[in-house]
Symmetry: C2
Subunit: 224 residues, 2 copies
């Protein structure tokens, strides 16, 4: 790739895309077509174009890989170790994305293949991507503990049991049903759609987010 004739690092973005599929927290990875790390799995990403903001670059990559727009996207951290890319100096700005529908994935130019992987059973990753992914996972869990971001992983309408399951999958621990429902109710961020599921057993009410709900719920301070 671009040999740095001039001594500025190349700037790339990498987007860690999480979703919930099959009662599992999964992340989208692409298989690299070219050296270095040819054939290894990697977090989707690419170089920032000349007149494009970082977030725009991240959204472009996200669109190329998944076809989705208007999803939750936040900047995570910037990784700039001089040796993180064997081709030369590349500083990468990592983003975290949460998508709801487990839609068909589209491999971009840079990848021969793309698929969802359980975060609990990951393959060996290219570059320092294992580190980036762990960082993203930690941030996601942390975020769920004090914000309502977890809803971004769900379809537009969902039952209370579904959302509780989503939280349990991401956090990796069971939650109490009545307490969970009380907190959701108190947060006042959902509204009934009016519809219900028709499955086995008693039908469940469907909910959606209130458009005007505030996603960032502030914690009480612990210290001092």
């Amino acid at each position: 790739m671009a040999q740095t004739r001039y001594h500025y690092p190349a700037t790339s973005v990498d987007v860690v895309i999480f979703t919930l599929r099959a009662d599992d927290l999964q992340v989208l990875l692409v298989r690299r077509k070219h050296a270095p790390f040819e054939g290894r799995w990697a977090i989707p990403g690419g170089f920032v174009e000349a007149d494009e903001s970082l977030e725009a670059a991240a959204r472009r990559e996200l669109k190329e890989e998944t076809g989705v727009r208007d999803v939750y996207l936040e900047q995570l951290y910037t990784f700039g170790d001089p040796k993180r890319d064997p081709r030369g100096r590349v500083v990468t700005v990592a983003y975290l994305a949460l998508v709801s529908a487990p839609l068909a994935v589209q491999a971009g130019d840079d990848a021969s293949d793309a698929r969802w992987w359980s975060v609990y059973k990951l393959p060996s990753l290219a570059f320092d991507h294992a580190k980036i992914l762990q960082y993203a996972l930690q941030r996601l869990r942390y975020k769920l503990e004090y914000t309502a971001a977890g809803f971004q992983l769900l379809p537009p309408s969902f039952t209370l049991t579904e959302i509780q399951k989503a939280y349990e999958i991401v956090l990796g621990e069971p939650l109490d049903k009545r307490n969970f429902r009380r907190r959701i109710a108190e947060a006042d961020i959902l509204e009934e759609t009016g519809a219900s599921t028709l499955s086995r057993g008693r039908p469940a009410k469907l909910y959606r987010f209130r458009d005007d709900a505030v996603a960032e719920v502030k914690t009480r301070r612990l210290f001092p």
Copy 2:
């Protein structure tokens, strides 16, 4: 991916350096010697060198400006708007630093002058530095609410009243003396030096951090 011949963005680091001086939360700014924004105040920073990690670049800038090493330093956010620097594309990785001693500042090559400014009375800043500074201030306040990072702003030994004042200055609100002392005691992060102040009134015991204290105190979750 479009690998046309274009210049990668330049990569810089900017370091927002906070300290406590004169019962005030202050930030170190440098006056720019050259265009653009000649004569305007700016957050100290500079370009990342060829074989230097981002954090190393930030520490180098910090050292050039203040002469200090081994201080608290954390990556904040990366600002990459294509128009943020009129000279051309510059992506900057912002860092937050907390220093204790209000030491003499040393102007680096890039600045004709450097001084501490109260965060409550800032001059007009170059580039998008006002935005970066506000972001840093928000992060500092947030951090103080759930970690013991505030100690980094104090000299190696201090009284309980001093540290309470430090928290009050940064948070901008008064705290209850007995509750504050109880929380500090429960956190179990201080030890007595054995010495006391000799001022007017009753002498106060001096404390220092325990070397083995854990700085990151985890919050209880609020949601769900």
